[in-house]
């Protein structure tokens, strides 16, 4: 039993580490198609990572140890996060280690380290990026927590494995609250992954960038780790959305066939999710930074409404 959990855990971690750059590549490809550009290959992200790993690190004179440690910390956090989210199986050895709230804490930990790293060199863009990242963060984090709260009120648990099990094996019922929090979650993940209405992952336009401004001073293997970590973050968020709102197909007990099936279903769902993301990014325009509070405030409001609606309409169920 425990051996199975270990196996599923390792499998999930490896799948996350390997598939995450591909998901990013897939989103970029879809987006290029939709925008009538010729698309980069699906494996482009791997080539970029490999190129960056081979390059030398150029470190600013003023960079401190914190700056050099941050990529490793952020990468570890994101790897742990993608190991915690139950995507392939709900029997994982890490699943009791962190529940939904701790997962939010984990994302916050990574965010704080990368923001501190952005301030470390002491350039104008770096600190601007850190400030904006923290700004987006403090708006997005409560909304994300609220989404989890609604899910945990439905399943009477904050443990992710239990939430997914409950939601996956309930008889079909329409939960308006879950629909609301699903939308809220989507808005939050757009913001957290530096996606279009809030930030543009491809821009280096000085005044609009957030995430890119923060990591401007990174190069070589450090940059590779950070890029990989953002791929992992996107992967973890996508898996989280899938696990919370489309959980069917998750393997439960020890069953290699179920696990294989779960992997196949996961890949299909991720492909669909990536396509949706590209669609959203193509259809919407980037907001001014100070429209972000409204965007995320709406997400927060939706999540709170979801909780209230759950208490009124669904609590008796």
């Amino acid at each position: 039993m425990n051996f199975y959990a270990l196996f599923a855990q390792l499998l999930e971690l490896i799948v996350a580490l390997i598939l995450a750059p591909m998901l990013t590549g897939w989103v970029n490809q879809c987006r290029a198609w939709m925008q009538n550009r010729s698309a980069p290959p699906l494996l482009q992200t791997y080539y970029t990572l490999s190129k960056l790993f081979h390059k030398d690190v150029l470190l600013a004179h003023n960079a401190s140890t914190l700056f050099r440690a941050a990529p490793y910390i952020v990468f570890s956090c994101m790897a742990l996060a993608s190991a915690i989210v139950p995507t392939l199986s709900t029997e994982l050895i890490f699943s009791p280690a962190a529940d939904a709230i701790a997962l939010v804490g984990l994302f916050a930990l990574a965010r704080i380290f990368i923001s501190l790293a952005g301030m470390d060199v002491g350039t104008s863009f770096g600190s601007l990026g850190s400030r904006r990242e923290m700004f987006i963060g403090f708006l997005a984090e409560p909304a994300l927590l609220m989404v989890f709260f609604t899910a945990s009120l439905i399943s009477h648990s904050t443990s992710l494995a239990t939430i997914v099990e409950t939601l996956a094996h309930k008889e079909f019922a329409i939960y308006p609250s879950l629909a609301f929090s699903g939308i809220a979650f989507m808005m939050v993940s757009l913001a957290e992954n530096a996606r279009v209405p809030i930030d543009n992952p491809t821009t280096h336009l000085e005044l609009t960038m957030i995430h890119e401004a923060m990591i401007l001073e990174y190069s070589g293997r450090h940059l590779a780790l950070i890029e990989w970590a953002s791929c992992l973050k996107l992967f973890a968020y996508s898996c989280l959305g899938i696990a919370l709102f489309f959980p069917f197909g998750v393997a439960q007990a020890f069953d290699p066939i179920a696990l294989t099936l779960a992997s196949a279903i996961l890949v299909a769902k991720l492909a669909l999710g990536g396509f949706t993301l590209a669609l959203i990014e193509t259809l919407s325009a980037k907001m001014r930074v100070f429209r972000a509070p409204e965007f995320l405030g709406t997400a927060f409001l939706l999540a709170v409404l979801a909780m209230l609606v759950h208490l009124l309409l669904e609590a008796g169920r």
Binding site: A173, I174, P176, S177, A179, F180, E294, G297, T298, L301, L302, V304, L305, L308, V309, L311, L312, L313, E314, G316
Partner: protein, 226 residues
């Protein structure tokens, strides 16, 4: 009998709950909206959701008179009134942006407080009521209160009228959820009232615009006796 319905058609009940939730969401969206055209569209959507939920109630509970009210809602609130409002805006060349007296986030917080109050006030009523959609009474009441709040916080006449109409939406929804709607005669009467009210408002808009060159109702403060 009512209980058996509840068990017989759980899916319909769930769809109605979903409709109720969407109505609430649209209520909030209207409260937060800054563009007048979007506001009208939101109002239209709310009417459509209302019509759908009424129709579902009518079909699942064999209350055929409700089908009539659903149709009435569809014609009046999804087609006719938005059309009139669009025309009005074009004729009056109203500005696109809505001014609010309170800033949006504060209004939203007040809205959440209203929802909490409405849910709690409605709880005893919904326990008494035996209809399939009794849980939604709270939401209907919340829609009414949100529309009321919108009326208070808007300073231009057109959004106020839309808020008034949205309030009527909420009332109608409350009536359906509590007692399967009012008698047909009453409903027809209300529909007529709304229509006539709309016409009067239209006349009134033209009048105040001629008087003040603007639709800002703050000008009306001048009328008060000193």
């Amino acid at each position: 009998m009512n209980l058996s319905i509840l068990h017989a058609v759980p899916l319909a009940g769930q769809v109605i709950n979903l409709c109720a939730a969407i109505m609430l969401l649209l209520g909030f969206a209207m409260l937060a909206q800054r563009r007048i055209l979007t506001l009208i569209n939101l109002f239209m959507m709310q009417g459509a959701v209302l019509a759908v939920s009424t129709a579902i109630v009518a079909l699942t509970t064999q209350q055929h008179h409700l089908l009539w009210s659903a149709g009435l809602t569809l014609i009046l609130k999804v087609i006719l009134l938005p059309y009139i409002l669009h025309r009005l805006i074009r004729r009056l060349s109203v500005k696109w942006d809505i001014e609010t007296l309170l800033n949006i986030p504060t209004t939203m917080l007040a809205g959440i407080a209203l929802v909490v109050i409405a849910f709690n006030v409605a709880q005893p009523i919904s326990q008494l009521s035996g209809t399939i959609m009794r849980a939604t009474i709270g939401i209907a009441l919340a829609c009414v209160l949100l529309a009321f709040l919108m009326m208070i916080t808007r300073s231009k006449a057109v959004p106020q009228v839309i808020a008034f109409l949205a309030m009527e939406n909420g009332l109608f929804f409350a009536a359906t959820s509590a007692t399967y709607g009012m008698p047909m005669v009453v409903e027809l009467g209300i529909a007529l009232d709304v229509l006539v009210g709309m016409v009067i408002f239209g006349v009134f808009f033209f009048q105040i615009r001629e008087q003040f060159d603007s639709l800002d109702i703050r000008h009306m403060e001048r009328f008060k006796e000193r």
